[in-house]
Symmetry: C2
Subunit: 195 residues, 2 copies
Amino acid sequence: MTARDTGTEQLIKNTAKNLFFAEGKLHATTQEIADAAGVNRTLVNYYFRSRDALFDQVFHDAQKELLDLLDDVIDSDMPFKEKMKNLIDVFMNQAMQFPYRELFIITEMNRHDVIESKIARVEKVNGMLQEIEAEMEKGTIRKMNPRHFLINLFSMMAYPLVTAPLNKIIFNMNDQDYTALMEERKKLIFETIFP
Amino acid sequence: MTARDTGTEQLIKNTAKNLFFAEGKLHATTQEIADAAGVNRTLVNYYFRSRDALFDQVFHDAQKELLDLLDDVIDSDMPFKEKMKNLIDVFMNQAMQFPYRELFIITEMNRHDVIESKIARVEKVNGMLQEIEAEMEKGTIRKMNPRHFLINLFSMMAYPLVTAPLNKIIFNMNDQDYTALMEERKKLIFETIFP
DNA sequence: CTTTTGTTTAACATTTTTGTCAAACTCAAG
DNA sequence: CTTGAGTTTGACAAAAATGTTAAACAAAAG
């Protein structure tokens, strides 16, 4: 076995991810993916067997990428405030590059029977929730259901990038303006959750 | 001309909206729409000429529904705080019913050359931004770029409903729990923007 | 009751998208 | 250079989705 590895498999997958996550073409055809990658469409079948199989792989990859990101933050033993600053920076950078990744995950969740009982993860999130409650006790952040704290945080980070096309029209801004607004936003979100 | 009006046209459109906005099937086929409406697929073509034409109509409807909602709030001459309370209540109720409506608009914006220079609306939004700035001067809300204020508000309202399936898993909640969390959220958002 | 007109249906045609296969190709190993 | 494995390609087949048409149907108008 020679395992020549021309990189085509990765190229196809990465191109697909770019179409899905960056350009928001959540249901691109195999032809569109192949064209964007500059390869023959048949190679999608050669490497991934079927369109669905490719989508499955990308779906699981995306899920893992997202959860790994969260794990990195949760598991780091920085002080809470540092953690949050870090999270905002890393997550928003990713969101600016791949605004539609979470949407892809969500729309694909319909197709995948998501029975995956992520019990270990649930416990991890519970740990995070407790850490947040502890901060509320300390008075560094406002008291509330800690789930709302996390929901607020991720909403403020992710949504404005998903709705960028709409917002640009509503606010009459061009791409450059909007990117600047999103950079400015990192600081603002931090100040919003730590009043 | 008798104009018999069996209500089929509206039935098809409403069913499509429900699939798109409520169930998140943003690229449902004509067959799926017809099945959900309980009518023959050919009727989609009879009433709307083509699949694209149906999507176009729903797209423009959704755009109008959303903008009308905003107009109602902006144009009402209540005090600012009342306006916001009202907006949160109305918008979140709609978001709970049609969580994917804005996503549909955004994904469809790729297909529609959105040249629509909504200059009149831009002025309206500018008015709103000025009203927000005035409130900041008065000290009722925290000082920031007023665009961030609006973005924060809509993010906190809309995103948790889009990501409901994901959040239910992460937080280990069932549908009922999550609905309760969203109801509770109305008050929380109000308190977050008026600290 | 018959006609007229709008509505609905089934059968068919077309287009789009996906999947398969054998042949051509490429490059490392022998 | 020749062999052989993995890779790429084009032609073809199959499936899915959309669109068209003529005929059947239903209800109001005459």
